[in-house]
Structures are given as C-alpha cells and as structure tokens.
C-alpha cells in the first residue's frame, strides 16, 4: 500500500514536536521525537478509524510534547548530558594533542599570571583595610600649598590643638617613629619602634593578643615607661615566652614594663611617613611634655577615626576651620599652613595604584594576545573540519549544535588551562610576594593571598577565554556553505577565512605593540634614572646607623666626643681610606628640611620664607662620599662646639639665592636649633639626596659638633669590598661602647639600588609580559603563514612552474607577513598614543610618545614577523610544481 501523503494536521503536530524537542537534552532528543511521532500517528489513525479526525484535537495532543519536553529539560539536563558533550569534545581533541597541549600551556600561563596579578590588585586596591569600619579611618596632615606640600608631618602643638577642638572625630592619635637601643639581652641591638598615642589601638579596634593596650593616662611623661610588643618580636626575640607580661626591657637605657603583645596579623608599618627601620617591633606611648605645646618642629603622623555620621567632607571642613584659627592665633609657626584629610586606604595604596593597574593591564593584554593566538589555531582547525561539519549539517545537525560542540571544545581547553593556571597562581603568588625585597614599594603585602574573588575571577576568565577564542572559529565552521565545502577538497580555506586570519594577526600585533611600547618606555626610564649622576661616589662605601641614647650620652659634648673618637678610630683602621658621618643618609628616602632666609636682607613673612634641606655631617663626610667642594672651605678642626656656628651650602642654594654674588662670608638664618644668622663658609656640589629621580634641592650643611643630633649614619670608604669592613666597624664601635648597637649596616651601592628597586621590579615584570606578548605574536604570525602556505601550495607550484625562483616565492610570503605586521603596528601605535598617558606618572624624562621607543618596538615587531614567516616561506619554496599540479 503506498503511503498516503500525510495530512497537514499531522505535519503541524510533527513541527510542534520538533520545536519542543529543541529543549530536550541531546541524549534523549531522538527518542523523544520518535516516540511522539508514533504517538501522533497512532492518535491520528484512531481518530480516522473512528471517523472524526480533528486537527484541533491532534494539535492539542501534540501540545503534550511541550510539557513532556519541558519536564525532560528540567529533570534530565544533567551532568550526564554535559559529560556527553565533554566526552565528544575530548574525543575530538585527542586527535590533535599538539594543539591541545600548546593551547592548555599557553592559557595556563596567561590565566595564571592574570589571576596572580589580579589577586594582588584585589587585596591591595579593592579589599577594605583589615580594620573595623575602615572607611572611617583617615590620616591628618598639615599642608603648605605654596611649597607644594600636601602631606606634611604635624607639629605636636597643632596635633594637641586639633585633638582638643575636633567634634567630627571619635579620636585622633599621633604616631612617630623612633628606633631605640635595646640592651640587657644577648647583644645590644637597635629595634624599630613606634611612639603612639594610647588611643591608636582603640581607633584601629585592635585587641591585644596578650595583656593590654595602653591606657589614656600613659600619655603622661611620668607614666609612659611601658611597652607593647609586636607578635613577631615576642616570638622571635623573646622566644614567645608566655611569662613575658610584667617583665621589663631596657630601651635607650630606661626600663620599660611589658604590658602586652599585639596580634600576629597586626601590621602598622605603613602608618608613618618616616620609616626608620621598617616594620615596628615595639610600641611606646607618645608622651607630650607641657612644653610640647610650644614646639613648632613637625614630625608626627596623625591617624583619626571619623565619628559615625561624619564623612570626609564634613571632617575636612572642620579641620580647615581649626587650622585656620591656629594660623591666625600662632602666625609665627602656622602662617601658610593648613590641614588635609586623606582616607587611610588612599594613604596606604595611593602610590602604587597606577603601577599595579598598569601591570594588570599588561598581563590582561598578554592574555588577550594568547586568546587571539589560540583563536588562530582553532580557526585553522575549524577550516580543516569544514567537511566534517558540512556532512554533519547535511545529516541534519543544527548550526547551533555545531557551534555548541566547538565551543565546548574551546571551553574545555580553556578551563583545563585556567584551572592549572589558577593553581599555579595560588601557590606562586604568596611565594613571589614574600620573595620581593622590602625596598619594592608594595603596601599590604602581608595580606596578599588568593581569596574567593580572585578565584572567581580566574574561573570567569577561564570560561570567558574559551568563549572568546572559540566563537570566531565556531561561527566560521557553522556558517560554512554546504555546497562549497562538499565540492571543495578537504580543508580548503576560502577568501573569507583568510580575511579572518589576517584580522587576528593584525589584532595580535597591535596588542603586542601596545605592551612593548609600555615596556620600552619603562625600560628607557629605568635606564635614564640609572644614568643620573647622584652627585657623589658611593662605590666602596659601607654605611651603618648609630643612635646614642640620651641616658648614657646626656650632653652634646658626650655625643660629639663619641662621634669624634669613632671617626678617628675608623680612619686608623686598616683597609679604611676615609670615614665620616651624616644624619640622614642620601638615597634612603629620608631628609629633613626647614625654612630660612638671607640674614643680610630683610626677613620675609613666615609664609614667604624659602625652604632648605638641613644635613648634619662630619668634617670628613664630603671627602668620604666624593662630593666636590666648589669654593670656600670644608668643615675642619676649627668648627667646634665652642666656636661660632658656620655652614656650607650646596650649589642649588647658592645659584638660586646668590645668583650674581659669592655666598661665602654671607649670613643665613636657618630655622633649626635657633635662627641666628650663620656664616656661609663654602659651597659643595649638589647631591640627589632624596633619590635619583628628584631634582637637587637647596641644602645647608652643619657640622655635628655645632648642631646637636641623636643619631648619625657612619660612612666609611674602602678600596676593597665594603662588606669586608663590617667586622672592623663593629669592633671599633664595641671598643668605644660595648652596649652600643649598630643598625642598617649595608653598602652604599645597596642603598642606591634599593632606591630604584620599585622601578626595577616594574621593569622586570612588564618586560616579562612584553616578551611573552612578542613570542605569542611571533607564533601567531608563524602559524598563520604556515597555514597560508599550506593553502597556497598549488599557487606556489604554479608560480614556480612558470619560472618564479625560490627567492621570489620566499619574498612573497615574507612580504605578506610584513604587511600584516606593519598594519598591526600602525593600529598598535594609535592605541599606544591613546593609552600611554596612563603611563606618564611612571616615566622619567621620557615622553609617553617617545619616537625612539615607538620606532624601535615597531622595528622589533617587524623583525619578529620576518622571523615568524621565514620558515613557512622556506617551506613554500620546497613545493614540487609537478606534484601540486597533478594533485588537482
């Protein structure tokens, strides 16, 4: 019996079932369709047999398939079904282990590094500080806008006045750094310490690990002989002795009672602007004697907690009002001075924000380039698989199904790579951070680890990358024209696909150029910084810090005698060619400054006085450090405690304030110990005291016998290895005073090198990323050209049959690669122009559009393109013309 043409009622019902089947999981789909087809045929037959076939009834019957399909979709769309997709993908990937391995490895590295940098950005910039209600915590600074000073340390007098007058703050606390000498243990040592107002711990809501924090009355000088230990100091130096509370420590020769130990995670190192000795190991009460109200010297950092309901605006407004009143009431020390309220988070991480974001952008670019690279490779695979896809499509597979299958493959690669990368990042990030030298500026480094957000970020990246590099190839494969592909030989590319290839190569080159430009600019800055003449010769110089405690060196005479004896002893030590001393060591980032004026001219108003650095040195300092004496005389034996005070100025001060005359013999009034007119006896060369990147500032030098000082840095020059002088130095100090410790013993080269450590670190990291980008771009060009040569074998064969020489064919391929690379470079240059202003604050004496840098990175990329296309070009010349012609 010939099968009758099915009535349209049935066809409508079938169509409904087909549509419904789209939501049915694949492994149930075929059965679903077949069962419902039977179902509908059966229903129609019975209706017909009963003589009343109704389209409406049949269609309503078919509607049941929709409910069935939804039920199946809800209940059977399971891991089974995903695993089926995945199994299929695995089978397909197993056929190309080379591709899979390289893609997984590339992604593991790229996603791993991106996740690692993100976890740093996350912990440092995004996560709130580890204190309760951290957004209420602020730092308070004095400002002197005229001198571009917006975060100046605060004078005790102003701190006390602020504290008494604010209503917007729960409380404010003063902090100052003061290393102290610890004696009475095995050997004397210098320990870094913070002096803090008792309210400091209450503001931060820090509970002690043991014992108690300071009570308010311990701010009184006679009650302040108590000390809190950091957890590290308690464990390390005191061996974690549980009976430590109530014992005493001899600090600077004075006994202090241990009242508490702070918790392990409490890190206060970023609180002070003057970090002498790094992370504080001890905390002492910041006591203010009654005369502190008169002191105009500024040395305090001030932490505040805004009261609930007060915001930054209201707090700043009130502070402005208070400092305005202080300026009016005490013009002699406050004229021109104001106040500034800075959120604590901004204070702690503001300096590294740009650098971290630049690193994050760099690593993201590498990841993007890696995705483009894999997209390239998958596109080639997709084109190879066109026939397979065409056959499956002609057999009824939906385009969306094929897209999904290819995306499953790319996501699988990416998730495997990503998981490896995240694992790598989780292990490597904390290890790398802890291996970073202290001199690299990275706040909150103790907090850095991979948290949930970073993990989620890494996972999202993994899936995202799979889609990013999978979508183009998948669309290409699915949009294949059936007839074309079936007619064509296997895996023949089309014009459209080669256009996609070219676009990918151009994109990759452009991104690589952006990254290389950034790296190039930073590298050039680093080079230029290192070219800067610091104004002194630090080779062969060993330095160390000495703090003479007031308890044993109570008078200026005693201190002077100690320094005199030490320098004399060192000068006589074998191996030492010269020895001297200075208060704040150059290149260590610390300095002191004050206002001054020419005493032979009328005194300017307080807010119009210029500022000079103040450096206190020994007479032998300039010779030891190789700083030239330009005119006049150096300090010498005449400049004693009991002779009239004299000073030396640097070239910058001489040129700026004595432009047309010799300053020698002229008086300066420097507001330091007092502001009596002091005679200038000589001019010395400029030194980049604050670091290689800072212009020399005006500076005056006093001789230590004539200007009292609690601490000095010893500098000694040797013709040999400075490290070899450590023992002789320690012995020389020990012979003078067995209880006197030395701290911060290091060669001056190390000091200089530490001053550029952050920059060096940035350059290394970004260069690694740029190198990776370059490598990936080169591989991209290689794979595209290799593919293109494979596609054009016949063309090459034909060309050679018609008389083209190998060199012509080679040139053809290489030129094509160069063309792509050049286009990519132009796009990249445009992007660099747009983006590089973000980099500007990190550059030194080089503009963000430095032609030399831009030109050389473009050349490098062209060279990479030439190199990447050379082997494919070479292969093209080995095409046998006869063979390729025969194969068609």
């Amino acid at each position: 019996m010939p099968e009758p043409r099915r009535p349209w009622a049935l066809r409508t019902a079938f169509a409904l079932v087909r549509v419904a089947s789209l939501v049915v999981p694949r492994h149930r789909r075929e059965g679903f369709r077949e069962e419902w087809t039977t179902e509908l045929v059966c229903a129609w037959e019975i209706q017909t047999r009963r003589g009343k076939p109704s389209t409406g009834r049949l269609v309503s019957h078919a509607m049941g398939s929709v409910r069935d399909a939804i039920w199946l979709a809800r209940n059977e769309w399971s891991w089974d079904m995903l695993s089926q997709d995945v199994r299929y993908a695995l089978r397909s990937l197993a056929k190309q282990p080379g591709f899979v391995l390289s893609a997984v490895a590339t992604l593991a590295l790229a996603i791993g590094s991106t996740t690692a940098i993100f976890s740093v950005v996350d912990r440092v910039l995004l996560q709130p500080l580890p204190y309760q209600e951290p957004s209420q915590l602020v730092m308070l600074w004095e400002t002197f806008p005229e001198r571009d000073r917006f975060r100046n340390v605060v004078s005790p007098a102003n701190f006390l006045a602020w504290r008494e007058n604010t209503t917007r703050f729960e409380d404010i606390a003063a902090i100052s750094t003061s290393p102290v000498n610890l004696t009475g243990l095995d050997e004397p040592m210098e320990v870094s310490a913070f002096r803090v107002s008792p309210s400091f711990f209450k503001l931060l809501r820090v509970a002690p690990f043991m014992g108690r924090v300071f009570s308010d009355d311990e701010e009184a000088p006679d009650r302040s002989k108590v000390v809190l230990l950091s957890y590290g100091f308690w464990r390390g130096t005191l061996g974690g002795d549980p009976g430590t509370l109530g014992q005493t420590l001899s600090l600077g020769g004075v006994l202090h009672e241990i009242v508490g130990v702070l918790p392990e995670r409490f890190d206060a190192s970023s609180f002070s602007s003057m970090q002498l000795g790094g992370e504080p190991q001890l905390f002492l009460p910041q006591a203010f004697p009654p005369e502190a109200r008169e002191h105009s010297g500024r040395y305090l950092s001030v932490l505040g907690r805004m009261s609930r309901g007060s915001g930054l605006d209201t707090a700043a407004e009130e502070m402005d009002r208070i400092s305005g009143r202080l300026e009016t009431d005490f013009p002699e020390r406050n004229l021109g001075w104001g106040s500034n309220v800075v959120p604590l988070h901004e204070q702690q991480v503001g300096d590294v924000r740009v650098a971290l974001l630049v690193l994050f952008a760099a690593v993201s670019l590498v990841l993007l380039i890696a995705c483009v690279n894999i997209a390239n490779l998958s596109l080639a695979r997709a084109i190879h698989r066109r026939r397979e896809v065409a056959i499956r499509t002609s057999l009824g597979a939906a385009g969306s199904r094929i897209v999904r299958q290819l995306l499953t493959e790319s996501t699988l690669i990416s998730v495997v790579g990503g998981t490896l990368g995240i694992g790598l990042a989780a292990v490597a990030t904390p290890a790398l951070v802890s291996a970073l030298p202290d001199s690299v500026a990275l706040p909150r480094r103790g907090e850095i680890s991979m948290d949930g957000l970073a993990l989620a970020f890494g996972l999202a990246l993994s899936f995202g990358c799979g889609i990013v590099f999978g979508v183009l190839p998948a669309m290409t494969a699915a949009s294949t024209d059936l007839n074309d592909s079936l007619r064509d030989g296997a895996g023949r590319g089309t014009v459209g696909s080669s256009r996609k290839f070219r676009a990918l190569v151009i994109a990759q080159t452009a991104l690589a150029l952006v990254l290389l430009t950034g790296a190039g600019l930073l590298m050039r800055s680093f080079f230029l910084v290192n070219q800067v003449d610091p104004g002194l010769r630090g080779q062969g110089v060993l330095t160390a810090r000495l703090i003479l405690p007031r308890t044993r060196y109570g008078s200026a005479t005693a201190r002077t005698r100690f320094y005199d004896d030490l320098i004399e002893a060192l000068n006589e030590s074998p191996g030492v060619s010269r020895a001297g001393a200075i208060q704040w060591l150059p290149m260590s980032g610390l300095r002191s400054a004050t206002s001054f004026y020419r005493a032979d001219q009328p005194e300017p108003a307080p807010d119009e006085k210029p500022v000079t650095d103040v450096r206190i040195v020994s007479s032998s300092y300039f010779r030891t450090m190789g700083i030239p004496l330009l005119s006049g005389r150096d300090f010498d034996a005449r400049d004693r405690t009991d002779t009239p005070r004299v000073l030396l100025v640097n070239k910058a001060l001489a040129q700026q304030f004595f432009p047309d005359e010799s300053p020698i013999g002229k008086p300066l009034s420097v507001s330091w110990d007092d502001d009596d007119p002091t005679e200038i006896i000589g001019i010395v060369g400029d030194v980049r005291h604050s670091g290689l990147e800072d212009e020399p500032r005006p500076a005056v030098y006093f001789a230590y016998p004539q200007m009292d000082q609690g601490f000095m840095h010893v500098v000694l020059h040797t013709d040999g290895d400075p490290e070899a002088m450590v023992t002789p130095l320690k012995q020389a100090v020990g012979r003078l005073d067995a209880e006197q410790p030395l701290a911060s013993i290091r060669s001056f080269s190390d000091v200089t090198s530490a001053s550029v450590a952050t920059r060096r670190f940035q350059v290394i990291v970004i260069s690694v990323f740029a190198g990776a980008a370059m490598l990936l771009a080169g591989l991209g060009i290689y794979s595209v050209m290799a593919y293109s040569v494979g596609q054009r074998r016949q063309e090459m064969g034909l060309r050679m049959a018609l008389g083209a020489r190998a060199a012509d064919v080679r040139r053809l391929i290489v030129y094509q690669a160069l063309g792509l690379s050049l286009t990519g470079s132009l796009v990249g240059l445009a992007m660099s122009f747009a983006l590089s202003r973000w980099l500007e604050s990190l550059l030194f004496e080089v503009g963000p559009t430095d032609p030399l840098t831009l030109g050389s990175v473009s050349l490098v990329l062209l060279a990479v393109a030439a190199l990447g296309s050379y082997w494919p070009a070479q292969r093209a010349t080995r095409v046998d013309p006869l063979e390729t012609l025969r194969s068609e």
Partner: protein
C-alpha cells in the same frame, strides 16, 4: 503517600496501574486513563526515572509490517511491581477501572 521518596499523584498512579493492566505505550495509556498527553508523558518519565518502569523499542520489522512507526513499550520492573501493589491499595477505584483485559 511516599515511598522511597516517591511522591504519588493520582495521575502517576493511574499511569502505573494502566501499565500494570497491560496498556503498554503512550497513546494506549492515554486512552485507558483518559488523561491528556501532557500529563501521561511526564508521569511515564517520572516512573522511568524512579526505575519503576523500563522501556523498549519495538522491533523495526514489526513496525514495518504494521505500516507504522516504531512504538516505545513501557514495562514494569521488579520495583514497579511492588509499587503497583501499593498504588492499587492507595487508589482502589483506579485499579478496578483499569484492571480489564487488554484488547490490542
């Protein structure tokens, strides 16, 4: 009524009882129970997922000879038989109505 975490509904019970009475494929079950396809099929799926039913496709030759597409037959499993007993007790009226000899 719950057993083995299975939530009985009257429709599921009716479908199970119909299969127990020898109605073996979707349309047959619908005819026997008078339930619409959108109720019967999910019930069949639920019973299948609970392994109270298993299903077999009819042999190709049989379908060809009959001049129709293959049918999918549903059969009770061991635990299906136990469940059938329980359903008969819970829904005696259904059981009585469905327990008729099968005509195919």
């Amino acid at each position: 009524m719950r057993k083995n975490g299975f939530q009985w509904t009257s429709a599921t019970a009716a479908v199970l009882l119909a299969i127990g009475a020898g109605h073996r494929y979707g349309f047959d079950v619908m005819e026997a129970t008078g339930l619409p396809s959108g109720t019967v099929y999910p019930a069949l799926r639920r019973l299948g997922k609970k392994r109270l039913l298993r299903s077999d496709w009819e042999a190709d030759e049989v379908a060809k000879d009959a001049g129709r597409p293959r049918r999918k037959y549903y059969l009770l499993t061991e635990s299906g038989l136990e469940a059938l007993e329980e359903a008969s007790k819970r829904f005696p009226m259904f059981a009585a109505a469905l327990a008729r000899p099968v005509s195919d």
